[in-house]
Symmetry: C2
């Protein structure tokens, strides 16, 4: 059955953390804004929408302004349609489907690629073979502890480097295809 | 007091492992030999010798042929001079000194830079501020578990990207200076 292609675009510390234990991403904000979006707009143009976990959804809501123009699906078994602020009606929907089921549903709706966001979601989608491409931006800092980008899984997951570049900020960005 | 400059040159999986739980590095050997040494000879020319832990020493002994021309110090509180094969006499010595003390001793002997090798040793030398430069080569694979390159430490360790390049193998190599 056809599924949407899952794509990851995420930053992590050189030691592999996407946030501190308490969720803070303060360490991401000490780098001067060079006006460079590190390929974000180009990446967003390649996806039809986002799939995120409830933790990421709450974090993004905390930013104040909803940053996405494309539709977003929040995977959660506890949130309901009532959890969505009125301003986001039509932009965000809640689903309690499993990873593969939601990727099939979105394919049926005509999506070809989805931005999979949030540490736990990325780990479960990777483990289920639902991620085709990952763009990892490594920040030049060792945090020592926090929430990891990658988790445990069975068997090696082989990747194919598609491109790599670095920025004046010291960020190193690598794009990988996930081999099957 | 003057200490030797510690330098790291190591490969890890994209998820930060330098070996499987049992020490295996089989996953490093599935990439075709392109004849490229990934900057190893150039790096070795910048150090006066090596400092390694006893685990790394035993691993390297297992290779059969000792691969280093420069002198090596094995930090261990259990190994003795008798643990060194005759063929390595004069090339390898054992020391039970603490990281900073051995780096001072080597500075007194005229060393300016040492290749610090082995996961646990790198972690303790980093935590003590004894590492000045790290060249990390990321292999395009997710192992999911194993022995980590980086460990816990107190406070963020900020790095300055000095160079980044990638290879036909899909390896991405970044060289960082450790900020103080």
């Amino acid at each position: 059955m056809k599924v949407v292609s899952g794509k990851v675009f995420i930053a992590c510390s050189l030691d592999g953390f996407i946030a501190r234990e308490n969720g803070d991403i303060d360490w991401l904000h000490r780098y001067p804004d060079t006006g460079d979006d590190h390929g974000y707009a180009r990446f967003m143009a390649t996806v039809d929408g986002l799939v995120m976990g409830s933790g990421t959804f709450k974090t993004v809501l905390g930013f104040g302004e909803w940053p996405y123009e494309k539709p977003a699906v929040v995977l959660s078994s506890t949130l309901t349609a009532q959890s969505i602020p009125d301003a986001l009606a039509g932009k965000v929907r809640i689903s309690d489907k499993a990873p593969r089921a939601i990727m099939q549903e979105l394919a049926d709706e005509g999506w070809r690629a989805a931005y999979i966001d949030g540490g736990r979601l990325i780990q479960s989608f990777l483990a289920e073979g639902l991620i085709d491409e990952m763009t990892i931006t490594q920040i030049p800092v060792l945090l020592g502890s926090g929430r990891r980008l990658f988790g445990e899984h069975h068997g090696d997951i082989h990747l194919k480097l598609e491109s790599a570049e670095y920025f004046a900020s010291g960020f190193v960005q690598s794009r990988y295809a996930v081999e099957r």
